[in-house]
């Protein structure tokens, strides 16, 4: 069987068209949905989900082709322009017209990384669509929601398939817009109460925060274009290495400064999009969007784009940039993981977990472990999507309660969700034979290789020590979440949470939406589900305050649920009609079929996502050999960047066999130790009953009170940046922005200071010049008036005066004249006689 004939061989004539179809389908779906979606049966959800199914199928097929090629040792890097003549020439710039090839053109670039990423995007998006059918059922703007996530998917597909930085950036921006629209989904829905207010702010925050990164990316992009005159990745890689070689010929061992600057700017894009410290602030608040959107953002799209960008631009980064990347990634990983241990909101735990895992990926790429970082991105996408959708399922089942303290015992009611969530949790915690273990271990391995291989830098040491700590925290908080949510017994209303049902007035509100970040958002909201038909949830009047749960150490399961009748409740997507007088009478219930199916698909992929790449699954199960995954074979430096460039890059991070072997053993023992340690601690604290856990956790938090408060306050980054969102349901109007002691406040003060300088120094100088000019003018005017006019007037006045004096003699009296004549004559005579 030859490569050409096999149905899994890549056929440029057909397959680029298929890829293009997969890419355009969501866009077509979007256009149809936006224009006629509301009038379609079921508001068109089947249309988009079907379209996404087609897209997912194509991406899986294409991915299989990439694996097939890798299995047969063939190179799998395809460019639609070069191979099939499929170009989109946008415009020509500078002197490249002579070559007949524009330097601003686009084509499909499909390589093993693109294949893997495309598959992830297609499959996860399909699952999210499927899940949304159940989750979003009956909510306002249902069809718009589907249209938006479809376009979101389209943007990510385009980003992955783009062969150049410019089009990557365009899709990157489309994704920014779609995340804004989706996070703000509830901002158009006043009936969603708490979420309405929160989403309105959160979507702006997400958009503006990522915008900071986008601007950096744009600057970096332009720096590279300015030097290389091209946006094509393949060209950029080649030219970057040539530029470095040229520079090092003159200055041995040094790297061009402009490449470092440009690389840092490109990394700035990743900081914004992939929620790295300190621009991570938007991601936790992105939970204001519907849960399927969170799954999209946290797994397949958006945050993955930043890591994907790093993978695409890796050869353009100088060692300095890579050190910065590694350091930032490690900081983010530890930082977010510690915060994750204090969160009480189910989705907040997952959000911080995502940030932490993104830190792992970024750190890995910074350490030269491009393969490890991208591998983790792929495996993480599956299990994190599964976790989010499971969380959505739990929240859906628990009547939109999100506070884990008000859950517990959900396992009994939602067995499938529990199984899926547990599998994904094990995967993310890093238990062997689950996908997360392989990828996370590979990252830690990479850090230790750097150290043991003799390339000891501050960043690599920091990563080698910091990443295992973050991994331990990950295992701890994920199992804390599992224990809090699923073990013991159901305990609604343990703490006052903004999600809890208000009493009164919501005759037909089925799902009360609410959210509670752990820093006390007052109030809550109700999310209208028009067609559900529920009675009012009498809840407010049963008074939680009276129970008094001041400290977590004591909060007992208030009233459990023994006293209220368990009326039967409709199973179909949550008709919670029987709330009785307590308000939480109804049990959690398993989610409807589409949601469960989506969960199962993702859980399967979450567990086995790493195994797709095990070259020899049986052999690879010996876990000292585990790191040799197929992913590493298929996605390597050579396959990513071409043999020539790949060899050079691989040589840079190569270590000798002894060091590599040692690093394997160290990394394996470290990652096993931290994972089991984290799980053990989680079990000790949270696994042995709710009341006991509250007692133990209370003691611990009391003993490290100061540290706990700082971590629980998320290190006050939001406060420092002035971007904290405080939702106050009691206020009707939005409070005016008050400058405070934060970065934004400080920049406002600085702006005021500059304004003061402008007014008092710059303006003063201008005014001074003006005044001097005016003074000169006045002097000139005075001279004119006094001297010139004075001379003119003086002559006149003198003449007048003289005339008036002389006129006195001109009396007209003859005798007087005669007198003058006589005296004149006498005077003359006297003069003649005397002299």
């Amino acid at each position: 069987m030859t490569a050409e004939s096999h149905f899994l061989a890549f056929d440029p004539a057909q397959d680029f068209k298929l890829l293009f179809l997969a890419f355009v389908l969501p866009l077509v779906g979007y256009v149809i949905q936006i224009s006629v979606g509301k009038r379609l049966p079921r508001q068109g959800d089947w249309l988009l989900t079907g379209g996404l199914f087609a897209t997912a199928s194509i991406t899986v097929l294409m991915f299989a082709k990439s694996l097939w090629a890798a299995y047969h040792g063939q190179e799998f890097r395809h460019h639609s322009g070069d191979e099939a003549g499929l170009w989109f020439h946008w415009f020509y710039s500078s002197d490249t017209i002579a070559n007949g090839v524009s330097n601003v053109s686009a084509a499909i670039f499909y390589d093993p990384l693109g294949a893997a990423m495309l598959m992830v995007v297609g499959v996860v998006s399909f699952c999210v669509h499927l899940f949304s059918i159940g989750y979003m059922h009956g909510t306002p703007r249902y069809h718009i929601f589907f249209a938006n996530i479809s376009l979101f998917t389209f943007a990510m597909l385009g980003l992955v398939l783009s062969d150049n930085l410019l089009f990557l950036f365009i899709f990157w921006e489309v994704m920014g817009l779609m995340s804004y629209l989706l996070i703000g989904h509830f901002s158009h829905d006043p009936s969603s109460g708490y979420f309405h207010k929160w989403a309105t702010k959160a979507c702006k925050k997400a958009f503006l925060t990522t915008r900071v990164g986008d601007t950096c990316l744009l600057v970096g992009m332009v720096i590279f274009f300015w030097k290389f005159d091209t946006f094509r990745f393949t060209e950029l890689w080649r030219l970057s290495l040539e530029e470095i070689a040229r520079h090092q010929a003159v200055h041995p061992g040094e790297y061009p400064l402009w490449m470092t600057v440009g690389g840092l700017f490109i990394f700035g894009g990743t900081i914004g999009k992939s929620a790295q410290f300190p621009l991570h602030i938007w991601l936790p608040d992105a939970m204001a969007g519907p849960t399927p959107v969170s799954a999209m953002i946290h797994a397949a799209t958006m945050v993955a784009a930043g890591v994907f960008l790093l993978g695409r631009c890796y050869p353009m980064f100088t060692p300095d940039v890579l050190n910065v990347i590694a350091a930032v990634g490690t900081i983010t990983a530890i930082f977010a993981a510690t915060i994750g241990t204090t969160a009480y909101d189910l989705k907040a735990v997952l959000a911080w977990s995502t940030i932490s895992q993104l830190g792992f990926m970024v750190a890995a790429i910074g350490l030269g472990g491009v393969v490890a970082g991208l591998f983790h991105m792929v495996t993480h996408a599956f299990f994190k999507a599964c976790l989010f959708l499971s969380a959505g399922s739990v929240i859906h089942g628990c009547h939109h309660e999100q506070d884990m303290r008000n859950m517990g015992g959900v396992r009994k009611y939602m067995p499938i969700t529990f199984a899926c969530m547990l599998a994904s949790t094990i995967a993310i915690a890093g238990i062997p034979f689950f996908s997360g273990f392989y990828s996370k271990d590979m990252i830690i391995l990479r850090a230790w290789e750097e150290i043991l291989g003799g390339r000891f830098t501050g960043a690599s040491f920091f990563a080698a020590v910091g990443l295992p700590i973050a991994a331990a925290c990950t295992a701890f908080y994920m199992f804390r979440m599992i224990f809090m949510t699923f073990s013991d017994s159901y305990r609604p209303g343990t703490v006052e949470s903004p999600f809890a049902h208000h009493g009164g007035g919501h005759d037909d509100h089925g799902h009360d939406h609410g959210h509670g970040d752990d820093h006390g958002h007052a109030g809550h909201g109700d999310h209208a589900h028009g067609d559900h038909g529920h009675e009012a949830h009498g809840h407010a009047d049963h008074g939680h305050a009276a129970h008094g749960h001041p400290a977590p150490a004591h909060a007992h399961a208030a009233s459990a649920h023994a006293s209220h009748g368990h009326e039967a409740h409709a199973k179909d997507h949550g008709g919670h009609d029987a709330h009785g007088d307590h308000g939480h009478a109804a049990h959690p219930h398993e989610s409807p079929l589409p949601m469960v199916v989506a969960l199962c698909i993702l859980a399967f992929l979450g567990v086995f996502g790493g195994h797709f790449w095990l070259a020899d699954p049986v052999h690879s199960l010996k876990f000292w050999e585990h790191a040799h995954t197929w992913f590493e074979e298929s996605v390597s430096f050579q396959s990513l960047y071409g043999a020539e460039i790949g060899d050079k890059l691989a040589a840079k991070i190569a270590v000798d066999e002894h060091a590599a072997h040692l690093a394997h053993i160290v990394a394996l023992s470290v990652s096993l130790t931290v994972a089991s340690l984290g799980i053990l601690v989680a079990w000790l604290i949270y696994g042995r009953g709710w009341e006991r856990s509250q007692r133990v956790a209370g003691k611990i938090t009391h003993s490290i009170h100061a540290i706990y408060e700082v971590v629980k306050g998320k290190y006050f980054v939001d406060e420092a940046l002035g971007t904290a969102i405080v939702v106050d349901m009691k206020r009707k109007d939005e409070p005016r922005y008050q400058p405070d002691a934060s970065v934004i406040g400080a920049s406002m003060h600085f702006a005021n200071f500059l304004g003061w300088i402008d007014r008092n120094v710059v303006d003063a100088t201008v005014n001074l010049v003006g005044r001097i000019g005016m003074a000169f003018g006045r002097g000139s005017a005075a001279f004119d008036r006094v001297v010139i006019d004075g001379a003119v007037n003086g002559v006149g006045m003198f003449t007048q005066t003289f005339g008036s004096v002389v006129r006195l003699f001109q009396s007209g009296r003859v005798q007087q004249y005669a007198t003058f004549a006589v005296f004149g004559g006498l005077a003359l005579a006297a003069w003649l006689i005397l002299l």
């Binding site: 001109q810 009396s811 007209g812 009296r813 003859v814 005798q815 004249y817 005669a818």
Partner: protein, 105 residues
């Protein structure tokens, strides 16, 4: 009695004439002053003619002739002046020179 006495009379007459011209308010007295000045000049003519004869020469009548011309002139002058005074009187209804100050214009 020498030349000095004549000159003294003449000078006195001249001075009186001047004073009359300058200070008298009536124009007729002014005219009389003019006459007095002319006559002072006549005295001089005549006196110098009498005392200034060259020795042995026939006596000259030059001075006396000038005196007669002056008398004639004075008569003509008086006629013209009186005519002017008459017109002035018609114009200003006064014969006081201080009031006839049209020359000022």
């Amino acid at each position: 009695m020498g030349l000095g006495a004549y000159i003294a009379v003449s000078a006195a007459l001249f001075a009186l004439g001047i004073v009359a011209i300058l200070v008298r308010r009536n124009v007729l007295y002014v005219l009389m002053g003019i006459e007095m000045i002319l006559n002072a000049a006549n005295i001089n003519f005549v006196a110098f003619n009498r005392f200034n004869q060259a020795a042995g020469a026939t006596s000259s009548l030059d001075g006396r002739m000038f005196a007669i011309f002056v008398i004639i002139l004075a008569a003509a002058e008086a006629a013209v002046a009186l005519a002017i005074v008459l017109n002035v009187f018609h114009l200003f209804n006064s014969v006081k020179p201080a009031e006839a100050d049209l020359l000022r214009e």
